[in-house]
Each structure stands twice: as structure tokens, then as C-alpha cells.
């Protein structure tokens, strides 16, 4: 097997006294769409934050494109090709939609000049036409759904090899999700690797190819998404009885 794009081994993260992850190992292959499901406190967000360099793991290794990257800071991880869409969104509220996108392209602008950013922004507007309508509006005044689109687009502006999304559905109406999930599938089809943490397990397992089920800081189960969707243990805890 070739070297996976992302390989996390035995990751341990603490917050204060709390052990958030206790030896988590996951992989994302080049071009894969991988999901992570699990209850609150399972360690999903902590894993993502550690990979993105937002928090420093206590122990364990993280390899990206075959190179060890644990301990690197988040701005360094963006340069290596990892973009995180954080839980609860974080737009630069007092800047316009377009300014937020330009900031997302900071690394690209350094490498390829400001002209390259223009093309990327237009691509984002094609992907999310609503953002084009809102281009000059302050990001803080956008609705929840629009902000989520903006944060995804801002992440894409760094031309990542791996896009990590923490809680896509948080606070979003069903109609917006009907729009957002197919966009992710399309991005993945174009070659982008995606790691998705999502509480609506039905949706997560429907779009991803492989998934991990986390519990209590461990990986409890992993496998092909369509099979996990029929696993009795998963159905009981995460999918609800009606399925």
C-alpha cells in the first residue's frame, strides 16, 4: 500500500486534567472521503485540532504526505496543505465576505501572486453562488448557512490537499445541508481528500467511503461507511431506531 496522505498514530491530547484522546490512530488516503462519528467527548474535535496544529498533542505521531508533522503550528500546517473548518465557524466578522476569502488565500498569494487568488475566488463563487451575492457584506452579518459556506470556501482558498471539517451541520437547516453535502462530494470527486466530523451520522455515512466511530478517546470501530451504516452497534447509538 502506498503512503497515506494523513497517518495519525496513538494520538493523546489533554485539556487541563481531562484526557480528550487516548491513543487514537486514523488514516486518510489520497483522494479519500473519510468520516468520523461519535458522541461528545469522544475525541473527534481534539484529533482534528491536533492534526491542524491548533493544539499540541501530549504523545503520538502525525504524518502528512509521509513526513512527521506533529508539533508544527497551524500556520505551518496550512502551508503543507491542511485546511481546517472549525466547529462553530469562525469568520472574520468585521471584514467582508470577499476579504475573508482573500485572507484564506494568503499562502497562495505569497506563492503564486495575487492574480492567482482572483481565479480561486471566482471558483469559490461558482461553487457557492450565494457568497457572490454577499461578497461585500460583512461576514458577521451573514446567516449561519452562509457563514458555513464562507468558512469552507476560505479553507479551500489555501488550495489544501486535505480539507478537515468539524461539524458541518452545526446549526444549519436541512435545506442548506441538502446543498452542502453534494458540494463536498463534488470536491472529493475532483480529487480533494476530506476528513469530515459529523453528528448526523446518517448523512456522514451516506457521503463518505470510509468512517471511524470514536468513543471515550478511542477508535471503537472503523470500516466502509455503507457497512457501518448497517452495523447494529452503530445503528443503536448513532443512527436512531427508525432506520
Amino acid at each position: 500500500m502506498t503512503v497515506p496522505l494523513l497517518k495519525v498514530e496513538n494520538l493523546c491530547v489533554n485539556y487541563g486534567h481531562i484526557e480528550a484522546t487516548r491513543g487514537i490512530s486514523i488514516e486518510v488516503g489520497e483522494g479519500e472521503f473519510v468520516g468520523v462519528i461519535g458522541s461528545n467527548g469522544a475525541g473527534k474535535s481534539s484529533t482534528m485540532k491536533a492534526v491542524a496544529g491548533v493544539i499540541k498533542p501530549v504523545s503520538g505521531t502525525i504524518q502528512f504526505a509521509g513526513k512527521p508533522v506533529h508539533g508544527l503550528q497551524s500556520h505551518e500546517m496550512v502551508r503543507r496543505g491542511v485546511a481546517l473548518v472549525p466547529e462553530g465557524r469562525f469568520v472574520f466578522a468585521d471584514q467582508s465576505t470577499e476579504e475573508n476569502l482573500i485572507l484564506g488565500g494568503f499562502v497562495q498569494a505569497e506563492r503564486n501572486g495575487v492574480g492567482a487568488i482572483r481565479e480561486d475566488i471566482d471558483r469559490m463563487y461558482q461553487l457557492f453562488p450565494r457568497l457572490k451575492e454577499r461578497r461585500s457584506q460583512l461576514a458577521g452579518s451573514l446567516s449561519g448557512g452562509e457563514q458555513q459556506m464562507l468558512v469552507i470556501a476560505r479553507g479551500l482558498m489555501s488550495r489544501p490537499r486535505l480539507l478537515m471539517i468539524d461539524e458541518l451541520s452545526l446549526g444549519l437547516a436541512p435545506k442548506i445541508l441538502d446543498f452542502l453535502f453534494p458540494v463536498l462530494v463534488e470536491l472529493n470527486r475532483q480529487g480533494l481528500s476530506i476528513l469530515l466530523v459529523e453528528q448526523i451520522a446518517t448523512r456522514a455515512l451516506a457521503v463518505t467511503t470510509r468512517a471511524y466511530v470514536m468513543e471515550n478517546g478511542h477508535v471503537k470501530l472503523s470500516g466502509v461507511s455503507s457497512q457501518l451504516a448497517h452495523d447494529p452497534a452503530v445503528m443503536e447509538a448513532y443512527l436512531g431506531k427508525q432506520h
Binding site: N40, G41, K175, N216, L239
Partner: protein, 608 residues
């Protein structure tokens, strides 16, 4: 087991040790100059302790404390020399006058915060200094006021040793008051206001009152210190009360560890003695002073005591905390959740409520009424005006037009903390917790408006203080058990996983003993299993006659637990009625449900 012991007896032991060491001090020092330095230390520590309450707890940075210190000193100088007033009379006037100036300084916080507020405190210091120089008939101008009589108590004129012991008593009383404020509902409220003013308002804390209180306490301490300084020096002139001195007072707090109990005292000690020690550097004394300060702050960014605390915590055992099954409902739950409302009464109603932001009409003539003990849901697409509606009825926005009635009283135009005190509790979409306070403290802040013991009882630790603390701490722990978070009680709130933070926010809201609970997307970020637990929790809350207003996107949940559903689109009510009525409304399906999920598939099991 060592922690509760330390918690219980740590402070009394600290006071005793500190008192004993200082008591023996006059017999240990080499000469009267050294004793004088120690007396200065006690006086500066007094200022630093007060400033710690303002800066370390409430988060307001004052660079004008020397101005208040000056007012205290001049009050004593003028009253004792010109009117021959006694020590106690002079000190009382000094403290009262300083408190009044503290209140004056607090006034700008109504509209000015952060560095802008600090600029105002600097301006205050400059004004006081200038008045001291120019109002010559009162202050003696640059020459100052000399021949202040020694402090006399009960007819005995105090010598150096006597005055040292007087200062020691003042210092110990201040140190105990300082501790009693920090470890009380006032200390918690101060930290709450500095960490999230929004959240503090939602539990009924008026931030203006808290900031006023902090300024006044800090001013009382500084004024008393100023008065004590006049009696030590027996001479005051404007040189001792400059901007430099204000900076030094602030440095004492920050260097020692702002917000800590012993930090300001340690900071005052270091900054009083270091210049003495550094005299060996001769002309380079100030260089050495600056370099030392920079090095210490770089190595210990939270101040000496704050950083030592942090280092000590590294050795704490790491634990695997977990949520307990929730909601934990037992025979005691009824005592925990009580509402005086009668089922079926109107809890809250809006009358043609409208809210416009510039040209955008976010809420358009909404007239809805919430019945007591019901679960009333508001749904609609993102941007439909749900959050605006919640913010209007909870007092965060002032509606452009229309009225709100809550529990039979007009609530139109009431501010959020007033509404909270009337019984309206709420949570936030992205959670608003006091992140640097523990989980237990967050819930205790929720109960703040129900405490009966006031500042007086708190400072003197009267029985009513202990009764309140015991009662609400027990209740807070039971509320944490109710939402399954008791294992996390001593962790900082910001270390909790997002979904747990939501539950903590609900526990904090319930600690207010509300009649109406507004939940803004409580299910966001929860798994299916957790949502089922949340539904049980919400049903149980409503069964105790606490009305629940729910804004949520989780369709199955809304359909399963709502007694009434209001659907908003573009700021207007497009449907309002029972689940059955709303579910089949074509306008609702078109605007909200989209193609993905029609809400018909609610199983019987779930609807129970």
C-alpha cells in the same frame, strides 16, 4: 484528601503565618529605616490588594490609583493639620472620599472599555496631580503639607513600632476582606463579567453594578493606604503621587499574579525591596530593575503566583472524565426545578413585535403567545429571524416596535439582566460560558440573583453567607448530576467538549430557577443518542411548569416534543400551531424542509 483540607484551612493558616512573621518583624530589623521600608510595603500591598479586585477579577485596568492614593493622603494631611481631627475621623473621611471618587471613575465604564477606560484613569491621575500642585491654599502646592501629627489612638501617641502594628492590623483586615471577596459570589460575578458580559447579563448580573463595586472597593483600599502613608511620612507633597506610582501599583498586581490571593502582596514586596537591593548597581540601577522585570514576566507570563500555580497543576494526575447517564431524574428533581407558574397560563406573549436592522426587517409583526409548561418551538430557514426573535424577547435587542408581556408584566424595553431576574433564562447557539471558571462555578454564577446575603455579610463571613454558599453549592452539584456533568465539576468550562458545554449552559440557566427557558439550538452537535437524552431533559423541565422556547433545526426532535410550533420565514410567521397542523403546511415544506427530509417519519417510539 489533601485538597479539601488545604481548601478549608489553607487561608486561615496563611493569615496566621503572615501575621506571626510580621508581628516578630520589628524585633528583627536592623534599624528604623528598614522598618520604614516594611511599613511602606504594607501600605503599597493595601493598594495592590484593592487593585487586584479591579484588575485581576473584574478585568478593568486602572492607571490612576496613585490619584486616589493622593486623595486619601491629602485628606488626612488637611484634616489633621487644619482641623485637628483624630486619626479615626481623618481615616474615615479619607476612605469615604476615595470611595466617592472610585464611583466617579466607574461611571465611564457605562460606555468605555479596555484601553480606552485605562486612558480615562490616566487622565484622572493627571488631574489629581495638577490639583495638588495648583490648589495652594488647600494643598500647599509643590511644597506640600508638613508637620502632620503622629497617629494617636486612645490618647496614646504611636511610635514607630506602634504604628507598624497599626499598619499590620489594617493590612491583615484588608487581606482577609480581599480573600472574602474573591471567594464569594461577588468574586465569581466579577470574573463572570470580565469573561462574558453577555452571559453575566443572562443570569441577572448587572455588569454596571459589579464594575462600580470593584472600583469602589479598589478606591477604599487605595484611600486607606493614602491616609496611612500621610501618617507614616508626616509630610505629603505631589511628588509621591505621579503617573509612575500608578504604573508601579499595577506592576505589583501583574508581577505578583493578578487574580491570585497572595500575588499582589508578593508583587508589592518585590517591587518595594528590589530597588533597595539594586542600589548596588549604582547608575545602572534602573536598567537592572527594568531587565529583571522583563525577564520575570517573560519566564512567568501569569505573574509569579499565577505561573507557580500553573506549574503545580502540571503534576496533577490526568483523569478520564466522562458524562454520566442523563437526565438524572429522581424524587428530588421536583425540589430542584420549581416554577410558580400555573399550567395553561400565558407565560410570555409578543404583540406585533418588529425588529429592523437598517433596511432589513428581521422580525415582522410577530404576535405569539407561550403557555406555561409548554414546549414551544420556533423553526425556519437560516436567516429567517429566529435568533433575532430570541434576542428581542430576552432583552438583548430593543424591538423597533411592538410589545412583550412576560408573566403578566410588560417586558418591553427591559434589559437582559432585568428580564433574567424576572425569571427568563436562556442559552446561546455557540454557547456563552465563563470559560476560565470551573463547571461548578458556572452553575453557582447562575444562582447569583437568588443569594440573600449581601456584601456586608460576605466581607464579615456572617452565618447568612455560609448558609447561602452551602445551599447553592449543594443545589449546583445536584443540577450537574441532573445533566450528567458532576464528574466534571472541578474542570474549567472551556475544557469541556462542545456538547457538554451546551448541557452546562442549561444547568446554569436552571440554577436561576426560571419560569421560562429559551434554548437556542440545543441539539446542534449532538449525536442521535444524545438528542434522545436531550428530549427527555426538555420534557422533564417542562413537566415542572417551566416553559421552554426552543429554536432548533433538528426536525425529528421538534416534531416529537413540541406542544406548539411557530414557523418563521423572512421575519414573518408563516405558520403557527400544533405539530400536526404545521407538518402538513405546504408553505412550511417549501420554505423549510426542502427535498431531503419531510418530517412525516416520526416513529411512535420517539413521539412518546
Amino acid at each position: 484528601m489533601k485538597l479539601p483540607l488545604l481548601k478549608r484551612f489553607g487561608f486561615p493558616v496563611l493569615v496566621l503565618v503572615l501575621g506571626a512573621v510580621l508581628y516578630a518583624l520589628p524585633h528583627m530589623v536592623a534599624n528604623s529605616y528598614e522598618l520604614r521600608v516594611w511599613m511602606l510595603l504594607l501600605i503599597y500591598a493595601l493598594v495592590a490588594l484593592g487593585l487586584n479586585i479591579l484588575t485581576g477579577l473584574t478585568g478593568l485596568v486602572s492607571l490612576g490609583q496613585a490619584g486616589i492614593f493622593a486623595v486619601g493622603a491629602y485628606a488626612v494631611a488637611v484634616l489633621s493639620t487644619k482641623f485637628g481631627m483624630s486619626f479615626f475621623a481623618c481615616m474615615t473621611v479619607a476612605i469615604v472620599l476615595s470611595a466617592a471618587l472610585g464611583a466617579l471613575l466607574a461611571y465611564p465604564t457605562v460606555r468605555v472599555r479596555g484601553v480606552y477606560l485605562t486612558v480615562i484613569t490616566i487622565a484622572f491621575g493627571i488631574i489629581v496631580e495638577n490639583v495638588a500642585i495648583e490648589w495652594q491654599s488647600l494643598t500647599g502646592g509643590t511644597g506640600g503639607i508638613s508637620s502632620i501629627p503622629n497617629a494617636t489612638i486612645a490618647g496614646v501617641k504611636l511610635d514607630d513600632h506602634g504604628y507598624f502594628y497599626l499598619l499590620l492590623v489594617m493590612f491583615l483586615v484588608a487581606f482577609i476582606f480581599h480573600y472574602n471577596v474573591i471567594k464569594s459570589r461577588y468574586g465569581r460575578a466579577m470574573r463572570a463579567v470580565s469573561q462574558s458580559e453577555t452571559a453575566a447579563r443572562t443570569v441577572g448580573i448587572n455588569p454596571i453594578v459589579i464594575r462600580l463595586m470593584s472600583f469602589v472597593i479598589a478606591a477604599c483600599f487605595a484611600g486607606a493606604a493614602g491616609g496611612a502613608y500621610a501618617y507614616l511620612n508626616l509630610y505629603v507633597n505631589p511628588d509621591t503621587f505621579r503617573f509612575d506610582d500608578s504604573v508601579r501599583f499595577l506592576l505589583m498586581v501583574i508581577l505578583g499574579g493578578s487574580g491570585t490571593i497572595i500575588g499582589p502582596v508578593l508583587g508589592a514586596g518585590v517591587l518595594t525591596f528590589i530597588p533597595e537591593i539594586l542600589q548596588a548597581f549604582g547608575a545602572w540601577q534602573r536598567f537592572a530593575y527594568g531587565a529583571l522585570l522583563a525577564l520575570v514576566m517573560f519566564g512567568m507570563p501569569l505573574g509569579i503566583v499565577g505561573t507557580l500555580n500553573l506549574w503545580a497543576r502540571r503534576f496533577d494526575k490526568k483523569v478520564n472524565r466522562s458524562s454520566r447517564p442523563w437526565p438524572c431524574i429522581d424524587q428530588d428533581t421536583h425540589a430542584l426545578l420549581h416554577s410558580s407558574a400555573k399550567a395553561g397560563d400565558v407565560c410570555l406573549s409578543t404583540d406585533e413585535l418588529s425588529m429592523a436592522f437598517g433596511g432589513l426587517i428581521a422580525n415582522d409583526r410577530i404576535s405569539e403567545s407561550l403557555k406555561s409548561g409548554m414546549v414551544h418551538s420556533v423553526i425556519g430557514p437560516n436567516g429567517a429571524g429566529k435568533s433575532t426573535f430570541i434576542n428581542c424577547i430576552s432583552g438583548f435587542y430593543r424591538p423597533t416596535s411592538g410589545g412583550i408581556t412576560f408573566m403578566g408584566q410588560s417586558a418591553t424595553g427591559k434589559s437582559s439582566h432585568q428580564l433574567a431576574r424576572m425569571g427568563l433564562a436562556r442559552t446561546f447557539q455557540n454557547t456563552e460560558l465563563f470559560g476560565d471558571m470551573t463547571v461548578l462555578e458556572n452553575v453557582l454564577v447562575g444562582a447569583d440573583s437568588r443569594y440573600r446575603s449581601g456584601l456586608f455579610a460576605t466581607l464579615l463571613r456572617l452565618p447568612s453567607f455560609f448558609a447561602d454558599e452551602r445551599r447553592y453549592e449543594q443545589e449546583a452539584i445536584r443540577l450537574l448530576q441532573y445533566v450528567g456533568l458532576d464528574d466534571y465539576a472541578q474542570e474549567k468550562a472551556r475544557n469541556l467538549p462542545f456538547g457538554h458545554q451546551r448541557r452546562l449552559e442549561i444547568a446554569r440557566a436552571l440554577a436561576m430557577s426560571p419560569t421560562l427557558l429559551l434554548l437556542d439550538e440545543p441539539a446542534a452537535g449532538l449525536t442521535h443518542g444524545e438528542i434522545e437524552d436531550l428530549m427527555k431533559l426538555i420534557r422533564n423541565i417542562a413537566s415542572h411548569q417551566i416553559t421552554v422556547l426552543l429554536v432548533e433545526h433538528h426536525v425529528d426532535m421538534i416534531m416529537a416534543i413540541s406542544d406548539h410550533v411557530t414557523v418563521l420565514d423572512y421575519g414573518k410567521v408563516i405558520a403557527s400551531g400544533t405539530v400536526q397542523q404545521v407538518r402538513n403546511d405546504p408553505a412550511v415544506i417549501e420554505a423549510y424542509f426542502g427535498t431531503g427530509g419531510t418530517p412525516g417519519k416520526v416513529s411512535n417510539e420517539e413521539a412518546v
